[in-house]
Symmetry: C2
């Protein structure tokens, strides 16, 4: 491995003060002049080092406030919770997870009937020309746009149910699938990451250099037919996905 350059060393020391908690969210880093003095380096080196931390999403820089450690309070996503038997009155998984943390969930929902794109149609094993219902949700935490979740269902399956009607389903669409005789007994979760599209950047009000985690769950019923494909787009600085597994 090549030797670190000077600015990388400075970046690394600053990173350590953040990860160690010595500097917490909202705290200001020393000024450029102070860093030049304390690390005995040029202004250019200081700027490269700070640029590195901006790029990693650790700090933000504004002319007025200087360099400030970013708020990091990721929402913990527990993909396994959705699968456990829920009490009758339970709200759907996102609202539940957010309220658990003492924060206020809300959402905008839009229900459409679509020819899904190939990526969705193939996961839903939908024959050509078959339509799907998509429930597109933009979710907010404490009034801030937080993530999106688009859930696709075969139209033939859900046409006569609440899933195909606009508006929120308080008990969750999964419960409606159960009532229709298609409980999801197995799910496959795919997780990857990428840079956001420009419409995602706008919709989710992302700061530049923030990747998104894409989390796709395909739910299968007892006859192993896919009945739901849910695509979540999670800004990477605000979400942490956690699985707990036991060996058998």
């Amino acid at each position: 491995m090549a030797r670190s350059t000077l600015y990388q060393l400075v970046a690394s020391e600053l990173r350590r003060t953040i990860y160690s908690g010595a500097l917490g969210p909202g705290d200001q880093l020393p000024t450029e002049a102070e860093l030049m003095l304390s690390h005995q380096v040029s202004r250019n080196t200081v700027r490269l080092a700070l640029g590195e931390l901006v790029n990693e999403g650790l700090v933000t820089r504004t002319p007025r406030r200087g360099t400030v450690v970013r708020e990091r309070r990721p929402l913990l996503i527990h993909p396994q919770r959705e699968l456990r038997p829920q009490p009758e009155e339970t709200r759907e998984a996102f609202a539940w997870a957010v309220s658990q943390e003492g924060r206020a969930p809300s959402q905008e929902i839009e229900v459409s009937i679509v020819h899904p794109v190939e990526e969705i149609a193939s996961r839903l094993e939908l024959p050509d020309e078959e339509l799907a219902v998509v429930r597109r949700r933009l979710r907010f935490v404490d009034g801030q746009p937080y993530n999106t979740n688009d859930s696709y269902f075969p139209l033939a399956l859900v046409a006569d149910s609440e899933i195909a009607r606009p508006g929120d389903i308080t008990r969750g669409a999964n419960r409606v699938l159960e009532e229709l005789g298609h409980p999801q007994v197995r799910v496959v979760d795919d997780i990857w990451a990428r840079m956001p599209t420009s419409s995602e950047t706008e919709r989710l009000q992302l700061q530049s250099g923030t990747p998104v985690v894409v989390y796709v769950r395909v739910g299968y019923d007892e006859s192993d037919t896919p009945v739901r494909v849910a695509v979540s787009v999670l800004p990477a600085d605000k979400h942490l996905i956690r699985y707990e597994l036991e060996s058998r």
Copy 2:
């Protein structure tokens, strides 16, 4: 939601030709001049649209070859596999997953004794001043740097074992933990994403605009003591993490 601008519409049409498979990895997109003509837009609009696809990691642009669809053959990571009983001769999980796909795994390994950073020490529940053994691996697929995996173990636990000695452990460190009387019976997996640090960019030869997925597994023994913290840094364009869950 705001209306899409012209370049976003062009980007969206190009994206569809890629996701649909009409253009596959290595295929060239039409030239700027051709796109101006076919979409009836200005050169500037075409460039903005292509910039968008570069940013998303879908294509690369070089003066000589033009715009080319990127190779997308993500390695499928199955975090659950590691927990299943393995036949005696099984190789460790990464090598196994890579060979399953008919590709050639290799790695460089470096074993050190360290004061782990706070983030690791707290996950390892390591008292102050206690040391850890870290096995840092840079992994290659078909000779290309692919990802890194740093596994930390309490020094007190593994000091006299192969884990604290340099070099590969063919049967995997997890097997050695079992032999030491500390099989991992429960794991907690945390997954998030961020932009890479400059040393990661260099070490993993990342193309610009490629985020990394960070996957941290903490393994607990029968007395619920953490015995291993494994941090994997997975370039987002080359990895897909998959979990399969059944409802009980």
